[in-house]
């Protein structure tokens, strides 16, 4: 990923609290190597495949993220509750969401290894929101994110939610990940 675009639009897929990395990408698919492009795509196919059906696509639930034979989902945003990405350190988790077409996750807060992996790998933008958006946004709502002003516009309900500023991770995300950032700050030779 390179620089974050100023505006991102697309559909929301809503999840609850403590969505752990085993739910995001079950361990049986970790045999694919994300460093190989053809295998990277496979992670998109199995993304979120261990989320219990009742918790999939809230508030109604039982809305699949994508069909079994699709590699990319129709959604651009994940909106979730607390502690998104807890559990294992597998970078395959943000990889799977990226491979499935997710550009932005908005959660109340993240488990730290998922957060680091998302930022340092430059896979997606992990925004935090003090309000509990997973109770306000419905799966399928059309969202428009104004990245610079940290404002999320729900085009379906016409509500606007302020998101927390990206802060210290913005320069890393804007550089495209830790390697590009380390070159910018002189920690790595160009």
């Amino acid at each position: 990923m390179s620089k974050i675009p100023n505006e991102i639009t697309g559909k929301a897929y809503v999840l609850g609290d403590n969505v752990d990395t085993d739910q995001i990408i079950p361990a049986e698919y970790l045999t694919f190597n994300p460093a190989i492009p053809e295998e990277y795509k496979q992670f998109g196919k199995y993304a979120l495949s261990s989320v219990p059906p009742a918790q999939s696509g809230l508030p109604k639930g039982n809305i699949p993220f994508h069909t079994d034979d699709e590699f990319v989902s129709p959604y651009t945003f994940i909106v979730a509750g607390k502690n998104f990405g807890c559990g294992s350190s597998r970078e395959h988790a943000p990889v799977a969401l990226d491979a499935a077409g997710i550009k932005v996750v908005i959660a109340e807060f993240y488990a730290r290894i998922f957060f680091r992996n998302a930022v340092n790998g430059g896979y997606l933008v992990p925004f935090e929101c003090s309000a509990r958006l997973c109770d306000k946004v419905c799966t399928g709502d059309e969202l428009k994110l104004d990245v610079l002003n940290c404002k999320l516009h729900n085009l379906t309900t016409n509500e606007i939610y302020p998101l927390n500023p990206l802060g210290e991770i913005a320069p890393i995300l804007n550089a495209g990940g830790i390697f590009a950032y380390a070159k910018q700050v002189g920690m790595l030779k160009s």
């Binding site: 361990a27 294992s88 395959h92 488990a111």
Partner: protein
């Protein structure tokens, strides 16, 4: 100089500065980078992509590669991943690659690291596995990272980190014989929640901690990630230093570091461990705490004893103490964490029988040293929950799908509780089997 915690002191030293404070972003020098078969191939891919196909790692002696996740499987992709590790280790002349199918094969990385002398007080250990925090038991800063971070470390020996504030958990009193470190850490996680230590260090202190052996201290630090902790740490004492010196065959010098008496903690909680009861975590989260007495009688389909959390000699001694002279009522899987533990099960005796014989006589199934079903894995993994059954396990996580089937239910408990439950086929308080 303002006072610092053990974690802050280690990070300051590795950032080549005298003082750091929580919240500060720093670049640190890394002492050991560990990876395994699930994240190693991706890490190697990141390293080669950014440093070039002919690039050399920053220091071959500081990279430890321990395949352990998907070892005894017919899965071709899993086996391919081991080949990637083998070729890379050969190409880079890595002295510490513990290859599958050889005498040097170890099993679970977090237990293998100290056995092979790769953990030392005062150091920074980063590993591509969330349970890397286990090594905090040796008084070092140890935490899990992803492939991109690991690829960066592989090429540079450095990484940026945010200094975490420290929470202190003080264990007062004497641990009763029916409790283990697993009960203590499940109680802590249940109290603070599975996000209660997010971005924070968890330091364990008090006489109850220093009375524990190294393996039990490792169990405490192992599960800090289940509370979201960045690292868990225990100050080194004589027990630590004796252990380290007995394993430090590479004769690497090290300097123990201690928390200053007036260091600041963001949170402090004192437990009287003499009054605690056996604890477990109900499905589907490690913070879903209950006392065993509250759920006893719950019918089970399977028991599992293994993993970095519950597959060490101390864990098997505890299980054997309960299982000796009894038969299991449900499928019971016993998986030593490492080949060294497996040898221990074949040699150490209790009531005139080896521990392995006690398990076999009770009707348990013995597996080979590896992570096995703790994280599900390929469908032919030993002990994997392939159906929606109910299991009690000495492992670390019980999120949906963790041990295989996403509708399976997993209860996390101590080896004593799991062994007692295996005998009755229902959740059982180990006090019923300890005279």
């Amino acid at each position: 100089m303002p006072a610092m915690t053990l974690t802050e002191k280690i990070l300051a030293k590795h950032a080549k500065t005298d003082f750091v404070e929580p919240g500060q972003n720093i670049w640190i020098d890394v002492d050991i980078l560990m990876t395994h078969d699930v994240c190693g191939p991706g890490t190697i891919g990141v390293f080669k992509k950014h440093f070039g196909k002919a690039a050399k790692v920053w220091d071959p002696k500081k990279i430890v590669i321990i395949p352990d996740h998907y070892i005894f499987t017919a899965d071709k992709m899993a086996n391919r991943n081991i080949d990637v590790l083998r070729e890379f280790s050969k190409e880079q002349n890595l002295p510490y690659y513990y290859d599958v199918g050889t005498e040097s094969y170890k099993g679970v990385c977090h237990i293998a690291l100290p056995e092979e002398g790769h953990t030392r007080p005062g150091e920074v250990l980063l590993g591509t596995d969330s349970h890397t925090c286990t090594a905090g038991a040796f008084g070092e800063f140890a935490t899990g990272i992803g492939n991109t971070d690991a690829g960066f470390v592989m090429g540079t020996g450095n990484l940026w980190l945010k200094v975490p504030p420290t929470m202190r958990f003080v264990f007062e009193g004497t641990l009763p014989p029916y409790l283990m470190a697993k009960d203590l850490i499940l109680a802590v996680i249940g109290d603070i929640g599975c996000d209660g230590a997010t971005y924070k260090a968890m330091e364990f202190d008090g006489p109850g901690v220093f009375a524990l052996n190294m393996e039990e201290r490792m169990t405490l630090c192992n599960m800090v990630i289940e509370a979201g902790g960045k690292n868990g740490v225990i100050a080194p004492d004589k027990v630590t230093l004796d252990f380290i010196d007995s394993k430090n065959k590479h004769k690497v010098p090290y300097t123990p570091v201690y928390t200053d008496p007036d260091a600041k903690f963001i949170y402090e909680k004192v437990y009287d461990i003499s009054k605690l009861q056996p604890v477990l975590a109900k499905p589907h989260s490690p913070d879903n705490k209950a006392f065993v007495s509250e759920v006893k009688g719950t019918k089970l389909d399977r028991a599992y004893i293994g993993s970095c959390t519950g597959g060490k000699m101390t864990d098997f001694r505890a299980a054997a103490k309960i299982m000796h002279g009894h038969s299991v009522k449900i499928d019971t899987f016993v998986v030593p964490a490492t080949t060294e533990v497996a040898r221990g099960l074949k040699t150490e005796k209790m009531h005139g029988k080896t521990l392995e014989q006690i398990f076999l006589d009770a009707g348990a199934k013995m597996g080979e040293a590896s992570c096995a079903a703790c994280l599900g894995g390929p469908s032919d993994t030993f002990g994997r929950l392939n159906q929606a059954i109910r299991c009690i396990s000495t492992t670390n996580r019980n999120f949906p799908g963790r041990m295989g089937h996403k509708e399976a239910e997993v209860f996390l408990a101590s080896p004593l509780t799991v062994a007692a439950s295996a005998i009755t086929g229902m959740i059982t308080d180990p006090r019923e089997y300890l005279a």
